[in-house]
Symmetry: C2
Subunit: 370 residues, 2 copies
């Protein structure tokens, strides 16, 4: 079969590879119809992430099931399905407790541990929990966003808003001395969300899905920060207030808009030191920073600063499985705002060109057709 | 009147000072009956916290109201009351939203901005929101814990457990694809808490109140870490598993007890670099660190580590007002476990001696009688 193989930094070659076969009872083999090129593919492509060479790239794909192992019960041969970006066993302690982002048995697609889906066929471990059906009312191209970027963007923003609501108590509850009869409960209301100011740092594919999530969940004021005009235009069309990194005095704008306090929550989608520091400076005391960006450096604030600001910080990659349903609901409801999301569809044979374009920000989102 | 005055590091002098008078309409003047010596008084006493000299120390006290300003409506002259450690206006944005720990108008008792209560009389700004009545079924000595250490210890542990429950989703909810009709809700059940392993780092006055909170809220397994045998004995009597810093291999014990995962939550009550690093090492992926200790250094973990562990971190001082009722309920219900908490009662005239003993860990908790 044909596959896009990683042969070193800036070198993707489409070449012949053996068709995958069932290895474990829970495996399925998928005949790929669409495969996505994702921002995180660029970590290896650019050489930032050290890895061996020779594996097939890609962790976003959908297609038709060609074979299933004997332990696959939810899916049948011939069924059209999509895959979540990382297989999960749903049997380890972490999966059982909803932390599928820390599954102890699931290797990552498109890595040295597991070939990816930028190929004619791909092997899916733990098929029953890694695959998802495709609802009738969703277009295939749109459904491709559900493999990674939409639930990841959803997760970062949802975490910020959920944590924020958890930190909020109304003055009414507080002033009435009223010993509680049970443990504290989260009060999370649409009304409270209307008063929220949230800043989304970074409007790449994941960040823009986070912007849409903030709008869809009902956050009152959503700022979107990036340096790329096209991305900011997308954010504006979704209902966010765009701020241009490098041009706008972002800190001063947010402070002025919040009577000097700062934003209630900041979602950090970028994954570098400068973005994290900006997040810290923008958030108000007792506010929330939700960081979904992949970080490789130190934390750009110290313990005294974090103590003095009563900071609430959540970091790390998304648990897709627990949020899949809610994220999909929002995707379907707001699909009109994502109609121009996929900028390029190209045959897999043009993978090398596609990586080059995507790396140079010349494509918003690329899908490979097979 | 007589008052314990800060005259520089390691120098507390009891001397004559003018009796305070009403300055603002919301003030009350309290005739002090009991005043506490708190661990945070030691920050200035030891010279770690830079401050001017000449102010009256102390932020824990109860007594009888002698005068009230015209805007005080909830309390009357002659009423017996206690004070929360820091006045709060309940009118600024932060107070109105429950973040009384970041009140924009309330100076701290026992600081250069506001004389404290280790004196015969003390002025209470924002008396209606800063004072609390004393329930009939609570002893005065015990109620002194409600000025600061008990709600602070409660807050640190409650934050850890509440955040933990917020992060938890059952596998059942996850595996059933079910688009939600509303925003995510916190599921917080006694049953889930039974499975929780929580580590309380530091069993000084605040830490031990946090240990009791963890037991009272129903956390299944509570570890208490300190180096002082007397503190660990207290923790053991409350139902915690004591671990001796320096003797026990704490990391190995916690890892073994959790099948290699680490603790679900760690409460950091100490406020130094080593304790924060231990907290990070002890917590499992997707776990919670709640840090109530006062930090002055950098954070002893980097962004890559925090990303890779999906860390959930909450820092900063307690918001007492929102948790006062629930904390008091627990204090009353579990008061038998705190019967030996107050180790020394001394007249205020012996303040210099008391500070010296307390600083040397020769007293668990000191109250001054007036």
């Amino acid at each position: 079969m044909q596959a896009a193989v990683y042969e070193g930094p800036f070198t993707i070659t489409v070449k012949e590879r053996p068709k995958p076969i069932i290895k474990d009872d829970g495996d399925a083999i998928l005949k790929v119809q669409l495969a996505g090129l994702c921002g995180s593919d660029l970590h290896a492509y650019r050489g930032h992430q050290k890895t061996t060479t020779g594996h097939i790239m890609g962790h976003e794909f959908l297609g038709v099931i060609e074979t299933v192992g004997p332990a696959v019960h939810k899916f049948k041969v011939g069924q059209k399905v999509m895959s979540i970006f990382s297989p999960m066993c749903m049997k380890c302690w972490f999966c059982k407790h909803g932390y599928t982002n820390r599954c102890q048995n699931g290797p990552s697609f498109g890595s040295m541990a597991l070939d990816g889906g930028q190929a004619e066929y791909v092997r899916i471990p733990f098929a029953d929990s890694t695959l998802e059906t495709i609802p009738d009312n969703v277009d295939d191209d749109l459904m491709m966003l559900m493999c990674d970027i939409f639930p990841t963007g959803y997760y970062g923003t949802m975490k910020a808003l959920t944590k924020l609501m958890q930190n909020t108590e109304t003055a009414e509850n507080i002033l009435n001395f009223k010993p509680l009869q049970s443990a504290p409960q989260l009060s999370y209301t649409r009304q409270q969300l209307k008063d929220v100011t949230i800043v989304c740092l970074g409007c790449g594919p994941v960040g823009i899905c986070g912007v849409l999530t903030a709008i869809a969940l009902g956050a009152g004021t959503v700022y979107a920060v990036d340096s790329v005009p096209d991305r900011l235009e997308q954010a504006r069309n979704m209902g966010a207030i765009p701020l241009t990194l490098g041009d706008d005095d972002i800190l001063s704008i947010i402070k002025t808009a919040t009577d000097g306090r700062g934003a209630d929550a900041v979602v950090e989608n970028v994954g570098n030191r400068a973005a994290m520091r900006l997040a810290f400076d923008l958030v108000r005391p007792c506010g929330v920073i939700s960081s979904i960006g992949f970080h490789q450096s130190d934390l750009p604030f110290d313990a005294f600063e974090a103590y003095s600001k009563n900071i609430d910080l959540n970091m790390g990659r998304a648990a897709v499985r627990p949020v899949f349903g809610e994220a999909l609901r929002i995707l379907i409801e707001h699909q009109d705002k994502l109609s121009s999301f996929i900028s390029h569809k190209m045959p897999l044979t043009e993978a090398a060109k596609a990586y080059d374009m995507f790396e140079k920000h010349q494509a918003r989102k690329v899908l490979f057709t097979l």
